[in-house]
C-alpha cells in the first residue's frame, strides 16, 4: 500500500459526506446503498465514522459528472477512467467524482458502483494506489464473482490502519476528539496571515501565486505548495510583477509589469515580447495594470486598474468599446484596490491585501470571504 505524499489524513470524526447528485443508471436508493456500504468497508477497520448531510459543504462530496467537470482533470467518456478522488483536506480535497459515461450497476453486469466507490473513498481517506493486485486500492478495476464475499485485503487494512489505527474495542471509544487538520511544516511566510500577492494565475491546471522574486506553485492533487524563484523557470521575466492571467485556449499566460507585458507558454517566454500595454488599447494615462483575468465563457479578459476596469476581446484582439467603467458598478462588493484575480471552478477570486473575495460572476455577488493564502494549505 502507499499513502499520498505528506500523509494527509483526517483528524476528526465523524466525517461528513454528501451525495451531491445521482446517475440515471441506478435508482437513487441503490446509489445510497452502494455508497453507504462502501463507507462501512472502511468504518469497520478504523476508528472513523461517517454522517450524511444533504446540503451545503461536506468533508466528502460525492458527484457524478462527465468530461470536463471543473477540476482540471476531465473524464474521458465510456471505459478507461471510471472515477477519481482527492486526498483529505479542505474544499475539493476529500471529494470523489464518478464518470457518468460509465454504465453503473448494482451487480457486475456493468461497472459495479460499490466496488469503485470503496476504492475512491480509500483515496478520500488518504490511501494512494497499491501495487498488490489483490488489494482494493490496486488501480485497475476488477469485478468480483460474488460481491457478497467482498472484503478488504490485508494490504488495504494495513494501509488504512497506518493512518488511523484499528477500530476501538468498544463502541464508546469511537468518538475521537474533533481537531482540524494541523498546518504542515513549510515556509513560515506561506502561512503569514498578513500575506498578500502581486499576481495570481492558473497555468495548465495549476495555480501560481506571485510575490516579489518568488511564486508558490499549487497543484490540486498535491496538498503542499512548491516555492520557487520566478527566474528559475523564466530567467528573462522581472520580479515584483503586477498582474498575470492565463488564456487556456491559447495555453498562454500573460505577465504584466509597469507598461510592458510578456507571454509565456509552459517554460518558454514567447518571442516578440515584452510588448507595450498600449498595444492592447490602453490610453497612455494607464502606466500599469493591477490585476487581470480571462473569463473563459465570455472569452474576454478583464483588466483592473485602480477603481476602473477594461474588457479585452481575445478573439478580436481589441478592447471593448464603452470602457473603462467603475469596478464597483459592475462587480458589487469589489470596492477596494485589487492586487490580483484568477478564475477557478466558475468563480473569480479577487485578492486585496491579505483578504480574498470569492465572487460569482453570474450571480454578481461576493459569495465567500477568505484569507489570501487559503489555497496554500495553511
Amino acid at each position: 500500500f502507499s499513502t499520498f505524499p505528506g500523509m494527509p489524513k483526517w483528524r476528526k470524526s465523524p466525517l461528513t459526506y454528501r451525495i451531491v447528485n445521482y446517475t440515471l443508471d441506478l435508482p437513487s436508493t441503490a446509489v445510497d446503498a452502494a455508497i453507504d456500504r462502501a463507507l462501512k468497508v472502511w468504518e469497520e477497520v478504523t476508528p472513523l465514522t461517517f454522517s450524511r448531510v444533504y446540503e451545503g459543504d461536506a468533508d466528502i462530496m460525492i458527484t457524478f459528472a462527465v468530461r470536463d467537470h471543473g477540476d482540471f482533470t476531465p473524464f474521458d467518456g465510456p471505459g478507461n477512467v471510471l472515477a477519481h478522488a482527492f486526498p483529505p483536506g479542505q474544499g475539493i480535497y476529500g471529494d470523489a467524482h464518478f464518470d457518468d459515461d460509465e454504465q453503473w450497476t448494482k451487480d457486475t453486469s456493468g461497472t459495479n458502483l460499490f466496488l469503485v466507490a470503496a476504492h475512491e473513498l480509500g483515496h478520500s481517506l488518504g490511501l494512494y494506489h497499491s501495487a498488490n493486485p489483490e488489494a482494493l486500492m490496486y488501480p485497475i478495476y476488477k469485478s468480483f464473482a460474488d460481491l457478497e464475499q467482498f472484503h478488504l485485503s490485508a494490504d488495504d487494512v494495513n494501509g488504512i490502519q497506518s493512518l488511523y489505527g484499528p477500530p476501538p474495542t468498544s463502541p464508546e471509544d469511537r468518538l475521537v476528539p474533533t481537531e482540524s487538520v494541523p498546518p504542515p511544516p513549510g515556509n513560515p511566510a506561506t502561512c503569514d496571515p498578513a500575506l498578500s500577492f502581486d499576481a495570481v494565475s492558473t497555468l495548465r491546471g495549476e495555480m501560481l501565486f506571485f510575490k516579489d522574486r518568488h511564486f508558490w506553485r499549487k497543484h490540486l492533487r498535491v496538498l503542499e505548495p512548491e516555492f520557487h524563484l520566478i527566474s528559475s523557470f523564466w530567467p528573462s521575466l522581472p520580479s515584483d510583477i503586477d498582474a498575470a492571467y492565463e488564456v487556456t485556449s491559447k495555453d498562454t499566460v500573460f505577465i504584466f509589469k509597469g507598461n510592458r507585458f510578456w507571454a509565456i507558454r509552459g517554460n518558454e517566454v514567447q518571442a516578440g515580447y515584452p510588448r507595450g500595454i498600449e498595444t492592447l488599447g490602453f490610453p497612455s494615462t494607464v502606466r500599469k495594470i493591477d490585476a487581470a483575468v480571462w473569463h473563459k465563457d465570455k472569452r474576454m479578459t478583464y483588466f483592473f486598474v485602480d477603481d476602473k476596469y477594461w474588457r479585452f476581446d481575445e478573439k478580436k484582439q481589441s478592447m471593448e468599446p464603452g470602457l473603462p467603467k467603475k469596478i464597483a458598478d459592475d462587480f458589487p462588493g469589489i470596492d477596494s484596490k485589487i492586487d490580483a484575480v484568477f478564475e477557478a471552478f466558475g468563480f473569480f477570486y479577487f485578492f486585496s491585501g491579505s483578504t480574498q473575495l470569492q465572487y460569482d460572476p453570474n450571480a454578481m455577488k461576493v459569495t465567500h470571504v477568505l484569507k489570501s493564502n487559503s489555497w496554500l494549505n495553511c
Binding site: 499520498f4 505524499p5 482533470t73 473524464f75 471505459g79 478507461n80 477512467v81 471510471l82 472515477a83 477519481h84 478522488a85 464518470d99 460509465e102 461497472t111 469503485v116 476504492h119 475512491e120 483515496h123 494512494y128 494506489h129 501495487a131 493486485p133 488501480p139 485497475i140 478495476y141 497543484h219 492533487r221 498535491v222 509552459g266
Partner: protein, 82 residues
C-alpha cells in the same frame, strides 16, 4: 485517407501509451517528440515502472499484456506521486 492504415493504428496506440504514462507514471510531457521511438530512454523507464507496479513481466517493451492492461478500466488517480 490515411496513407498508412497500420501506422494510424500504431499512432493511436502510441498516443494511448503517451497519455497513460503521462497521467499515471509521471512521464514528463516534453518527451512527446520521442514517443514515436518506443525504445527511447525515458519511455522505456516508465514502461518498466508501470509493468513493475501493475504486476506485469518487466520487459520495458509494449508487449500484448502491457497494451491489454492499458486498455483496462481503472481509477484516474496517478499510480506514482507527482
Amino acid at each position: 485517407y490515411p496513407l498508412d492504415g497500420v501506422s494510424t493504428n500504431q499512432d493511436s496506440s502510441m498516443d494511448l501509451v503517451q497519455q497513460y504514462l503521462e497521467n499515471y507514471y509521471n512521464l514528463e510531457k516534453d518527451v512527446r517528440q520521442f514517443v514515436r521511438r518506443k525504445d527511447s530512454g525515458p519511455v522505456v523507464k516508465k514502461i518498466r515502472e508501470m509493468q513493475k507496479f501493475l504486476g506485469l513481466k518487466v520487459t520495458g517493451k509494449l508487449d500484448s499484456d502491457t497494451m491489454e492492461m492499458m486498455h483496462k478500466p481503472r481509477c484516474g488517480v496517478p499510480d506514482v506521486a507527482h
